[in-house]
Each structure stands twice: as structure tokens, then as C-alpha cells.
Amino acid sequence: MLSLIVFLPLAAAVVLGAARALPDAVSRWTWLGVTVAELALVAVLVAGYDTPPDGGLAWEERLRWIPSVGSSYHVGVDGLSLPLVALTAVVFCACAVHALKDARRPRAQAALFLFLQSTCLGLFVAQDLILFFVFFDLSIVGMYFVIAGWGHGGAARSALKFFLYTFLGSLALLVGFIGLYLAADPHTFDIPELVAAAPLADDAVAGAWVLGAILLGLAVKTPTVPFHTWLPPAHTDAPAIGSAVLAGILLKMGTYGFVRIAMPALPDAWQAWAWVVLTVGVVSVLYGALVALAQTDVKRMIAYTSVNHMGYVLVAVGAAGVVADGAQEARELAVTGAVTQMVSHGLITSALFLLAGVLHDRVGSYAMADFGGLAAPAPRYAGLFAVGAFASLGLPAFSGFVAEFQIFAGSIGATWFAVLAVPGILLTAALFLRAYQRLFTGPTAGRAEGFPDLRTHELLPVGGLLLLSLLIGVVPWPLLDLIAPAAETVVGLVSR
């Protein structure tokens, strides 16, 4: 079942890539059809999911792959990965709808995004470090071609920067994985086996180095200060749907790595160095928000809010490791909040990037100064942007509030230090309101005059994503019930 979900888009991508004579319309609708089918398959997955006992995996599959290096094709889902798998299916489906009117090489674009979807799904279900790494690297390759092939402005340069930076991260990750592999006895790349064995528990120095390599790799991907510099140019020059996938899904690979690999497999090192993660998280929250506040380019601003939002995740996972015993419930709350934040940020930021892309599609600019009073010519656009902005700044009734509330309640319950990140929320509110005023209120001016309002294929994906965010904000328990047992397991593992 999981293999079908992972490889169905890849198979479709191969077919689309090989069929050169395919009419554009057929490629677009095939793409949409496959993503809808994926959505249906994931819905079946979610419906049939029962929290497995003892922190185990559901829908598990394991096949021999490279036994001589202790690596197997091992996939499975639990409460940490299933929400992200579902998020992936949703965001890619939204992108397929958004691209229905895109005229630039639709066949190749569809093939590339389907390939990318396979790598993202594969990463979230991988239970083997090599498998994880394979999908991690391939997602970088796919995104490079998305930015370089469909981007605008200095796309080639941004794509190169993105590739080099994240590839550096992925190799650091590989080095860390090899360290884990060699430390385990018998040598293995299997994640559940490594988690059970917790190698390097009694070797603080080697543990610190291996954790350092893995943290570096994940920090580049997340991204956190000071490894975030690839993110703004990549987002600015990427096409709208590329940005949506990059922010919505690819960034989650980094944060997912923390809860899937770094925390459970290296509990002692994590406890010893959690204060670093926490500090980096706090700095990312504040720095990301402050820099976002200073932006004059809408897309760059949203990109920096991603740094801020991913910072909250780091605060939560850092706080979960700072204290080894006690405050068990608070730390579980923090980790649950971190995973919720991944889902919530994926939904909201994807929607915002799709909205920002509309600006460029219409008039070729993201500069706030070029617009003013957009609300009059484009009321639907203004309305949806307002909803997205409020959701992103953490207004109650949206998923962001649920996530950030849990993160802060849990983190501050574990350590007072997390309080320092709270001003980040205020800053985010300020920057979104300021941007909204500049773009939408006042008399219609500059390029906003005669700005066409959203069309159906733009309205539907954004509306759908924000509706999901609203749904999670109003009825959070189904999602939280899914995540909480897995968060409990992670906190239990990291407290060993």
C-alpha cells in the first residue's frame, strides 16, 4: 500500500516524460488525476490507521535491498509521518490544480512535480537511513530543476545556490548516518533498530560529532539561522507552485528528521546539546521575524516567515530534550505542537505562496511598492490573502494557533528559556498587518489598477488549503489524537 502511494507518481512521471507527443491538456489533467488518486489512497491510509502498540509502525513493508551494508527497503508510517504524508498529498494536489492554466512546458512540469511528489512521500515513509537519504537527495535534484527550469529573475543562480547549499547539508547528513551505522552493533541503517539500540549512548564525544553532522544537515534543510541564506533567493525566483512545495513540504524534511532520527537515535547527545537547538530555535524565530519585517518584496517576506515558523519547531524539540526527566507532559505537548506546526505551516504557507505567485503572474512583480489598494479591483484575492495572513500569524480558530499554543505551553513548561521566543508572534502579526495594509488598503494605485481577481483554478487550491487549516483550528482533536501517541514515544525515547 505504501509502496503504491510512493511509486504511483513516479510511474506516472516516467510515462509523462517518455510520451513526447502528448497534448498539453492531457498532461495537465493526468497530473491532476494522479494527485487526486494519491489523495484518495492517503485518505484510505488515514482511515485505516490505528495507532500501533508500543510505538510501532503501521502499514509496514520490508524487503531486502543492500543487505551487505545493512540497508533494506523498509517503509512504514506512525503518528509523526502520517500527517506529513497527508500534507504532501494535499499540497501537491493543490499545485496540480493551480497549474491547470500554466502554459510553460506543462508535460515536463507535470512529470517533474510527480517525481518530486514520489520523493517527498518516500522520505516521510522511509524507515531506513539510506532510503531516507536517497529520497532526501532526489528531492533536491527535483527542486533544482523546478527552480532552474520554471523560475524567473535570477533563477539559474538561485537554483545553483539552493542545490549547493542543501547538497552540503545532505552530505553532512550522510556522514552522520555512516557514523550511526558504524556505531551500531551489528551495523545497520534501519531506523527502528538504531532507535532501539541507541548507539553512541556511552560515547559522548563521538555522539556529539555524529549529532553535529546530522544537525548540520537538517539545519540547512529546515532552514535555521545561520544556514537559511539559500531560502529567500530560492523562493523569490521559484515559480509559485515550486515555492509552495519547497516551503510546504521540503522544509518539513529537515524538521521531520529531528523527530524521526536525531532525537530517538541519539538521546544522550540530544540531551547534552538540546540547549544549542533551543537557542538556534529562539534566534531563528526572532531573526526570521525581524528580517521579514524589513522586506519590501512580498515573496521574500513570506520566505523569511518560514524561517520564523520553523524556529518554533526547533524551540519545541530543543525544549523536549533540555530536561531529561520530569515535565513529561509538557514535553509531550511541545513535540505534539512541533508536528502540528509542520502540518499547519505546510498548509498556510503553501497557500500564501500560491497567492503571492498570482501577483507575479499578473504584473511580473512582487514589490510591495508597486501595489496599493488591491482590495477594490480584486476583493476575492484580498479576502483570501487576509485569511492566509491571519492564519499565519497564529489567530485562534486556525491551525497555526493550535500548533503555536501547544509549542509554547509545552516548551515553557519544560524550560523558562523558551519564553524568549514569544515576541516572535508579535513581530509576525506586525509584519503581516503592515504588508496587508500596503498591498490592499487605501486608494488603488500603481500596478494594482485593473488587477484581475482570482480565477477558479487559483481560488480552489488556496481556498482548500486555508479551509483545511481552519478545520484543524476548529476541530483539532483528530489530528492531535494521531500525533500525541507518537510524540509520547519520542519523548520517552529521548529521555532514556
Partner: protein, 468 residues
């Protein structure tokens, strides 16, 4: 003396093939030189089949302990035969009907023979012979094109080859004097307690000769020139096949040295310098062949990683052999693309390749990302096993250096890939593609992916003892 001619059947196939090719070529009119090609191909296929059959034999040495028949030998034979076949495949379009067609095939076969003997021998004297057998055809191949650039490259290769050949002989002499034997089995016992300084001199000499063949620092100067100026099949051959033999030969040699000389550190430093220099030099290149030439230098650096931990971890030999095979097919795939579009020699001229021939562009993406070591290509598994072996052998710092170098290498491979997907210029004429080379490129690209995905089946086969 343990005489067993049948154990050398693959080598005999290559030798007979080379002679027959040359004779056939001499008597065939120029438009019917394909007969010589057929003979050469048949010889390589026969060598491959006999090598595959011989894999089942137990590990042993023949002819008085001068020639090992073991897993490593089998792997070298197979990789060399397959790589040479691929070289002929990608070169057919360029060579067919030229004045030196059959001579080129004969030289390719002789070079292949030199590489297999080099990778299989366990005796310093035979090693010296293999060095000459492998080098002299190379000089001819480099200069075959008769252009000024080719002449310069041939002279450079020849002079460096002569110098490093002398160093090899000098090292052999010193080691013989110290150990009282030239066979590795004798050296292993004879060198114990030998003065460290003299041992180091001997080792450095032999190592210098082998590093010249492999194209690593300090014997790398000929590689970029030869790769740029020689004909494409010759360039593809000399950046691939000699490395296979030379690196296995280094592995066999250092494996018998006593621990008193700190050879792992020496090899590790050579590896680090080679990969760094190769990568840095590749940065500024604008000619794709020269860029590939430097990239092969950096690859030797990665290939030296498992050599540096020879004997210290059981994973070193399978890692080296797998990486060699993966590297050979990946490098040849890149050269096959170059051979298929001979008019696109500069990085900028690759512009619009994706539009003109998407299959070739796809093969190039697979080949270049393969050279970087992106999963799921073969070199990724190679790098993974090599890094693991090096770390396991206590060279974690070298793994970090190699990882950093891998990131750096991505930069210049992307410099080549980026224009491929750009829109072609309006007035740019399509230089046309060569059919055989294009098929070879796509085939090799498929092999890269296949070998990467089926690594689990291949790796256990490479895990066998070294015969001494």
C-alpha cells in the same frame, strides 16, 4: 612453478584478439575495417565470458606466486572488458573508416591487457612489465589524432610515463633489496624489520608509478591534456581503464607492507590532495573534455579512500571494487554523450541539448549526477561503501574531506548541466548526433541506475579474499 595457462584465459583472449585485430586490419581494405572491429569485440566478449566463468574458481596464485586469481582479479577483468567494449561502442562513429581504425582497436586491447595484468599481479617485476604494457599503447592512442594538441598531449604523457616508469623500477629495486623477493608473499615476510626510511623510498617509487597510471597526484599532469586533445574513444579509455588496474595494484601492494611505514597516512594524504586538486582545477574549465579530465582526477582521490584502509577493515576491498565498476560505467556514459555530440565541445555549446535530443540530455544528467554520487546511481552506493570503509578504518577526517569535496564537485557538474536545459539560441544549427555513441550513452546511463538499484546483489559477490 605452478603453471596453469587456463587460469590466464581472459588475458590470452585479449592478447590473441589484439594480434588478430592488427593482422586483420592490415589485410582489409579501409571500407571493410569493420571486420577488425568485429574481431576486437569478439575478443573482449570472450575475455569477459571466460573471466565470469573463472569467478567460480577458488582464490589462488599461479605461475610461482606472480599472478593472483581471486575475486579482485575477476572484478578487474570484467570491468576492464566491459569498459573497453563500451569504449569501442561509443567510438565506432568516430573511428569507422578512418586510416587508423584497426590499429586503435589493437591498442585498446593491449591497453586493456596491461590493465588486467596490472590489477592481477602479485609480483613487482610483473607489475613493471604490466606498467609498460599498459602505458605504451596509451602513448599511441593519445597521439593517434595527429593534431598539434594531440602531439603535445602524447609527448607530455610519454615523458611523464618514462619518468614515473623509472621511479617504479627504482622502487622495485629498493624493495627487492630490502625484502629479498619481488613476489608479494615473500615481501610480506622479508620486509618486516626493514629500515623505515629505505622502505618508504621503495614504496614511494612504486606508488609513484601506479599513481601515474591511475591519474592521481602527483602523476596527474597528463590527464587533462590527453582527455582534451585525444580522440573521444581514446580519452574515454585512458581516463577509465588504466585506473581500474592501477588502483587494485596499489591495494594489493599496500596490503602486504608492514605497519612500520605509515603508508595509510601517505595514501590518505595523496587521496585528499588528489580529490581537492582535481576539483579545484575543474572549476574554471570551459571545455567539457578537459572538465571531465579533471573530474577523473578527483575521482581517483575518492578511489584511494578504501586503499588507505586496506587490511584494516574487511569492507575496503568490496568497496573499492564496486566503486571502480560504478565509476567506469559512469565516466564512460559522460564521455559517450560527448562522443555523441562532437560539435558541442564547450560548456556554452551544450545549450539546448535537452531540446535537440532529450535522451542524450537525460543520459548526461544521470552520468553527471552519478559522478557527484546522487542516489540512486551506482557511484552513490560506491561512495557510501567507500566512506563507511574509510571511517571504519579510522580515517573519519578523510571522510569529511571527501564529503566536502563532493559538494564542491557539484558546482562544476552543474555548470555543465545548466546550459543543457536552457532554450537553444535561434540561429544555432543542430550539429547532429552520432547514433552508436548515443545508444552507448543511453545504455550506460541505464547501467548506472541498474547497478545502483541492484547493488545489494552485486556487493556480496565482491567480498572475497585476496590471494598472495
Amino acid at each position: 612453478m605452478h603453471k596453469e595457462p587456463l587460469a590466464l584465459l581472459p588475458e590470452i583472449c585479449l592478447l590473441v584478439g589484439a594480434v588478430t585485430t592488427l593482422l586483420a586490419g592490415s589485410f582489409l581494405p579501409r571500407e571493410r575495417q569493420w571486420g577488425a572491429r568485429l574481431v576486437a569485440t569478439a575478443a573482449l566478449v570472450a575475455a569477459g565470458i571466460t573471466a565470469a566463468v573463472a569467478l567460480a574458481d577458488p582464490a589462488r596464485t599461479v605461475y610461482g606466486g606472480t599472478f593472483a586469481v581471486d575475486t579482485a582479479t575477476g572484478a578487474v577483468r570484467l570491468v576492464v572488458a566491459a569498459a573497453t567494449l563500451l569504449v569501442i561502442g561509443l567510438g565506432v562513429d568516430e573511428l569507422a573508416g578512418t586510416r587508423r581504425e584497426s590499429e586503435t582497436y589493437a591498442l585498446l586491447l593491449l591497453g586493456a591487457l596491461g590493465a588486467t595484468v596490472m590489477g592481477s599481479t602479485t609480483d613487482l617485476l610483473v607489475l613493471a612489465v604490466a606498467f609498460l604494457l599498459g602505458s605504451i599503447p596509451l602513448y599511441g592512442l593519445v597521439g593517434m589524432l595527429r593534431s598539434p594538441g594531440a602531439a603535445e598531449a602524447a609527448l607530455k604523457t610519454y615523458l611523464l610515463g618514462a619518468l614515473f616508469g623509472i621511479l617504479l623500477l627504482l622502487g622495485t629495486t629498493v624493495l627487492y633489496g630490502l625484502g629479498g623477493a619481488t613476489a608479494y608473499a615473500g615481501l610480506a615476510t622479508g620486509l618486516e624489520g626493514a629500515p623505515v626510511a629505505a622502505l618508504a623510498v621503495g614504496l614511494l617509487g612504486v606508488l609513484a608509478g601506479l599513481v601515474f597510471k591511475a591519474g592521481g597526484v602527483p602523476g596527474h599532469f597528463w590527464v587533462p591534456d590527453a582527455a582534451q586533445a585525444a580522440g573521444t574513444p581514446a580519452a574515454a579509455f585512458l581516463t577509465t581503464v588504466p585506473k581500474v588496474g592501477a588502483l587494485v595494484a596499489v591495494f594489493r601492494l599496500v596490503d602486504v607492507l608492514p605497519g612500520s611505514a605509515d603508508w595509510p597516512l601517505l595514501v590518505a594524504v595523496l587521496a585528499a590532495v588528489t580529490m581537492t586538486l582535481g576539483n579545484l582545477a575543474a572549476f574554471a574549465q570551459s571545455d567539457v573534455r578537459r572538465l571531465l579530465g579533471w573530474s577523473t582526477v578527483s575521482q581517483v582521490g575518492y578511489l584511494l579512500l578504501p586503499v588507505a584502509v586496506a587490511g584494516r577493515t574487511g569492507e575496503a576491498l568490496p568497496a573499492l571494487l564496486f566503486y571502480l565498476g560504478a565509476y567506469a560505467v559512469t565516466n564512460l556514459a559522460a564521455f559517450a554523450v560527448v562522443a555523441a555530440v562532437p560539435d558541442r565541445r564547450g560548456l556554452e555549446e551544450s545549450r539546448g541539448l535537452a531540446t535537440a535530443s532529450p535522451w542524450l540530455a537525460g543520459a548526461l544528467v544521470v552520468a553527471l549526477l552519478g559522478l557527484v554520487g546522487t542516489p540512486p546511481t551506482a557511484v552513490f552506493v560506491g561512495k557510501l561503501t567507500v566512506f563507511t570503509a574509510a571511517w571504519d578504518g579510522g580515517l573519519a577526517w578523510l571522510v569529511v574531506v571527501a564529503a566536502a569535496n563532493t559538494v564542491a564537485s557539484l558546482f562544476y557538474y552543474l555548470r555543465w548541466l545548466a546550459p543543457v536545459f536552457r532554450r537553444p539560441e535561434e540561429d544555432a544549427g543542430d550539429g547532429g548526433t552520432r547514433p552508436f555513441a548515443a545508444v552507448a550513452a543511453v545504455l550506460a546511463a541505464a547501467c548506472i541506475l541498474g547497478l545502483g538499484l541492484a547493488a545489494g546483489a552485486v556487493l556480496p559477490l565482491l567480498d572475497g579474499p585476496l590471494a598472495r
